[in-house]
């Protein structure tokens, strides 16, 4: 039930897009990604390198004097090693109608909430396309009817989400992946309606002078699964994703004070396990024109806290340290270096992301992730041999 197979996605995209080929505007990119792993894989079916191709076109069309819009953005990836990573999706496919101070949208959409850099706690509308990247910033299109009201005192969004999308995971050949195979077909739901339960979310956001604020409540099925170990005499042990019900209230706040941005994301969640709290808070300080050049260096410091009892992929007591270098040159060269350190175990996730434009329409990106000092009790322990460096070359059109 995990949504779209690549073939189905392609077929659907073609069927939807064919009549639109003449009106509106096309853009998008094709990217070739090459990955090299530093060490030998933990599992025999994994490899120490990978090659993968992604295609992400976007169509949009405005009419009715800008009051109506259609956006269609399919996504397709073909992966050399991992059958599960060869996948497709409709990132966006929606119709939007604007009224005087109201907007209605129907279809698959992508919505981002939040302010912090190291993790995105309050961002809950879309399911993570986890097989794409560990950072959780790739999202699956969420089917919804959304209503936005724009009174003078802020922005109010109501989301009605009639269908749940399961998280994607790397297959057995995929790398990095969790230590046991994931039995996605056996996924369990707390709600008796399974993936057909209607999830709801309400958000208020606005700015007051230097402050940008967002207050939200989500009532539905948790996007993040809890795993139970299942044992099959023939196939051995596997992880079964459990999608529990969740009530989550969130606050995101940013104060923009000159060169310093102060950021807070706070969530209070309630599930079968009781109530828990998670926090990401910190600051970003930008040094401009460093070393007498046009470059800016942003220093990022964030503290992460989570008291959820169930063992999950959470940052329970961590410090995130980072630097973002923007050369402000013609190629828009950028480099983001990051480390999230567990204050208790010193398990560290280090990350580097850089990119630079080549000629007018190409972009070359570098990504590296390193799992340092892994403690056997930490969820990152399973990735201890999966340090990698990845180069991506994208052509934009």
């Amino acid at each position: 039930m995990n949504g779209l197979t690549p073939v189905r996605a392609l077929w659907l995209a073609t069927a939807l897009l064919a009549p639109l080929a003449t009106a509106g505007e096309w853009s998008g990119n094709v990217g070739l990604e090459g990955t090299l792993f530093a060490g030998d894989p933990l599992f025999a079916e994994q490899s120490d390198s990978n090659l993968s191709l992604a295609f992400e076109p976007e169509y949009f069309h405005d009419w009715d004097d800008g009051a109506q819009r259609i956006v269609i953005a399919p996504f397709l990836r073909v992966d050399l090693r991992d059958k599960k990573r060869t996948h497709g999706d409709l990132r966006e496919a929606y119709w939007q109608r604007s009224f005087a101070s109201m907007e209605l949208a129907v279809g698959l959409r992508k919505v981002f909430w939040g302010v912090t850099e190291s993790i995105h706690l309050v961002d809950i509308i879309n399911q993570t396309d986890f097989v794409e990247n560990l950072d959780g910033e790739d999202k699956l299109g969420q089917p919804m009817v959304s209503l936005r009201a724009l009174p003078e005192w802020g922005t109010v969004d109501l989301f009605v989400m009639p269908y749940f999308r399961e998280r994607t995971f790397a297959g057995n050949e995929g790398r990095p992946r969790l230590p046991l195979p994931i039995d996605q077909d056996a996924a369990r739901y707390e709600s008796s309606r399974g993936d057909q339960r209607v999830d709801l979310a309400l958000r208020y956001s606005h700015y007051f002078g230097d402050f940008d604020i967002g207050l939200a409540h989500f009532s539905g099925t948790n996007r993040e699964p809890r795993f139970e170990i299942a044992f099959d005499p023939l196939r051995g042990a596997s992880l079964v994703p459990n999608y529990d019900r969740l009530e989550q209230t969130s606050l995101d706040l940013q104060a923009t004070k000159g060169d310093i941005l102060y950021k807070v994301e706070l969530i209070s969640r309630h599930n079968f396990d009781g109530r828990s709290t998670a926090l990401a808070a910190g600051l970003e300080y930008t040094l401009t024109g460093i070393f007498d050049t046009a470059a800016d260096l942003g220093l990022i410091l964030e503290y992460l806290f989570d008291d959820q009892p169930a063992l999950r992929t959470s940052f329970r007591n961590d410090v995130a340290l980072g630097g973002r270098l923007a050369l402000n040159d013609v190629q828009d060269s950028e480099l983001l270096a990051f480390a999230i350190v567990d204050a208790d175990t010193q398990t560290t996730l280090a990350s580097i992301e850089g990119s630079r434009r080549l000629a007018q329409s190409w972009r070359l990106s570098l990504e590296g992730r390193f799992f340092l000092n892994p403690d056997p009790t930490d969820f990152l322990f399973g990735l201890r041999d999966d340090d990698y460096v990845e180069l991506t070359l994208e052509r934009y059109f």
Partner: protein, 277 residues
């Protein structure tokens, strides 16, 4: 073209000679008056206020811009963007810029609420993540999309953002100009002073020299191809910024200027930023 221009210059020259005596006499009387009534600082402020007054009431405007970035070897890169502006009574203008090219930044948009005093408010929309991000506006001296234009060169030029001093009158290209100096009030500015040439007839800026924090000449901006819209508002068709210290230059061309198109506050919000194309 050149010939006709020089012809006209000659005719103007002859006319000027004929009335030279009156001009001289008037100038003496005037300068005596000015000396009594006005300091160069007051005169400079007066010119800046008059330039500002002549642009009042533009309401809103929209324009497509093409930027050509040239390095000292002559290699060129281009940028294309669409800009909308809204005049705000008693405060700085609001603006929304959407990038179209290069393709990898297509859909990226920048919303600015400029203020007469204090820091501007700025939000950036990142289309890949669908993220609206409030950003620090204190880096006004930084380059705009890798060009020779700094953010502060392109932001709404409010009278209150500078102190002024009148220097002299100067004629070139068949026009008379006021030459004034202005000093940024904001300590974050990348400049210690700017020398501005405005024509005496319409108060249009034709040239600006920018002096960096070390007080040496950094850049020169030359504006040309001015056109008048709605019988009132003058806008340059081309702005050419040359960096004397790096040898790089940026040419900014404006296309399809439109005024009073009916934009209002609702077109300059975080919501409109996230929908901008």
């Amino acid at each position: 073209m050149n010939h006709r221009l020089s012809d006209r210059t000659r005719r103007v020259g002859a006319a000027a000679k004929r009335s030279a005596f009156f001009v001289l006499a008037t100038a003496i009387v005037l300068s005596a008056n000015i000396a009594l009534a006005q300091t160069p600082e007051q005169r400079g402020l007066e010119i800046a206020m008059e330039a500002d007054r002549r642009d009042e009431g533009f309401g809103d405007s929209q324009v497509t811009m093409r930027m050509t970035l040239r390095n000292k070897n002559g290699d060129e890169r281009s940028r294309q963007m669409r800009s909308q502006s809204l005049e705000v009574a008693d405060d700085g203008d609001k603006s929304l810029i959407v990038f179209n090219d290069p393709a990898d930044v297509k859909g990226t948009a920048l919303l600015t609420f400029s203020h007469k005093e204090g820091a501007d408010d700025q939000w950036l929309f990142l289309p890949a993540l669908k993220r609206v991000k409030r950003i620090s506006s204190s880096n006004k001296s930084g380059p705009f999309v890798g060009s020779e234009f700094a953010y502060e060169d392109l932001s709404s030029q409010e009278v209150e953002k500078y102190r002024y001093k009148y220097l002299r009158d100067e004629s070139f290209d068949g026009r008379d100009h006021f030459v004034i100096e202005r000093y940024p009030v904001d300590k974050k500015s990348g400049y210690t002073r700017q020398v501005v040439w405005l024509d005496t007839q319409h108060y249009r800026v034709f040239k600006v020299e920018f002096y960096d924090r070390k007080k040496s000449l950094l850049k020169t901006l030359v504006s040309s191809d001015h056109k008048q819209y709605k019988d009132k508002f003058w806008r340059p068709g081309v702005m050419e910024m040359t960096n004397h210290q790096t040898g790089k230059s940026t040419r900014l061309e404006f296309f399809e200027y439109e005024f009073q198109t009916g934009l209002d506050e609702a077109d300059f919000t975080r919501n409109s930023l996230s929908k901008a194309r």
